[in-house]
Symmetry: C2
Subunit: 226 residues, 2 copies
DNA sequence: ATTATCTATAGATCTATAGATAATGC
DNA sequence: ATTATCTATAGATCTATAGATAATGC
């Protein structure tokens, strides 16, 4: 029975995570979640007496714990080599559903109480930002990369990894692994030629759609281009 | 009177843009917007008979038109030099309120009708994505940068510029101009040393907070770091 | 007559609470 | 007795519509 409780609550969190992360805190109702679970909206209060906000918070904390584990493990797996570490983190994020990290930390969090807002920000920071930042600091210490504000580096990388998942659905886009590899190469090698030679990119092999929109439909993007 | 109508409707759009972009389509009610304007919720239907969705759409299109102008002008101002062009675009975005582009194109757009969804995606693409992508293609054609999928390059840059505005409120963060310059340098020069020399970064001058959270409060970020 | 607002309200949700019910464990 | 659900519903919004009102332009 103890086991049952756990499974059931975890299933609620699974659905909540998928829906909240996909459409945002305000857009999702408890009924949406309950419907997907085949239960009634009021039944969710058995698992989360604090209601919607408590459910969202529990979902977010569980998610951050998971990502913390994934990021820390990935960083540990490529020790002494930043590129290998970043590849590992990229693989981790590719294995997870998009979290829309910043979208959540901004729009969704605004709907929470002041206390929970701060709590979640701290959690997110400790879970993903801090370990990644430390990896950049260590790489700089080893003389592997130049000095740049480590918060900026960690933020850019996390941000880009999260961003890759948005583009995933586009038709004609290079596969995610190729994009991640190129993003890492862009950060480390840069786009300018090195020693007069161009570093090859994986995504360069994919054909560029004539005028790739989000889908391939007629263009009505912009008329009044002055 | 004609003039009056225009001003009044534009003021509605101003407030709608600020609120929608800040907290998302679902989180903002027509009452929120009307209150801020000092009018009644029902009065908004005079300006936008189609209601909330029409108001959001009009707001987004006006915003994209503005950004199209800003991006195109910035790109034209630094012709034949990608770094100058990107600096110009970065300055443009710094002069504008954060648009939370992707957050909007994903979560908010999901609440719209299928038709408007597509319409907005096309608009956003034509307004900002396409001109930027073409600048990357041209730079590659000039031999300035290596070949990489231009959609990826344009997406990364836009994404990073949008991301910079999120971090802006953090205490102790380097000023936005320094961050933008470093992000551009990271993309073009890379983090690895060039010809044995480290390219200097502006943000490297800013002190790294001992354990910079979003604010400087006690750490409760992560306990169970296995 | 037109413009730009307002008041009032119908109808549809949404969150949260109270209490019933069925199944399982002691 | 406990667990996990359900039904029913109060109370609070939210969107949208109908129609009144005051100010301005012809």
């Amino acid at each position: 029975m103890e086991q049952e409780v756990r499974d059931s609550t975890q299933r609620v969190l699974d659905v909540a995570e998928r829906l909240f992360m996909d459409r945002g805190y305000s857009a999702i109702t408890l009924r949406d979640i309950a419907d997907e679970l085949g239960m009634k909206q009021a039944s969710l209060y058995y698992h989360f007496p604090g209601g919607k906000e408590q459910l969202f918070l529990a979902m977010a904390e569980r998610m951050f714990d998971r990502h913390h584990q994934g990021v820390v493990d990935a960083l540990a797996g490529g020790e002494e080599d930043l590129r290998a570490q970043l590849r590992g983190v990229a693989e981790w994020f590719a294995s997870q559903r998009p979290m829309k990290f910043m979208g959540m930390m901004h729009a969704d969090v605004a709907a929470l109480s002041e206390e929970h807002k701060e709590q979640l920000a701290q959690k997110a920071h400790g879970a993903m930002f801090r370990p990644l930042r430390e990896a950049f600091v260590a790489a700089e210490g080893r003389g592997e990369i130049r000095a740049m504000h480590p918060d900026l580096l960690a933020g850019c990388f996390l941000w880009l990894m999260d961003g890759l998942s948005y583009g995933e659905t586009r038709t004609g886009a290079p596969p995610r692994a190729a994009m991640a590899e190129d993003v890492i190469s862009m950060m480390l090698d840069g786009l300018l030629p090195r020693d007069g030679v161009f570093v090859p990119a994986m995504s360069a092999m994919w054909p560029v759609a004539a005028d790739a929109g989000l889908v391939d439909s007629g263009r009505n993007g912009q008329g009044r281009s002055s």
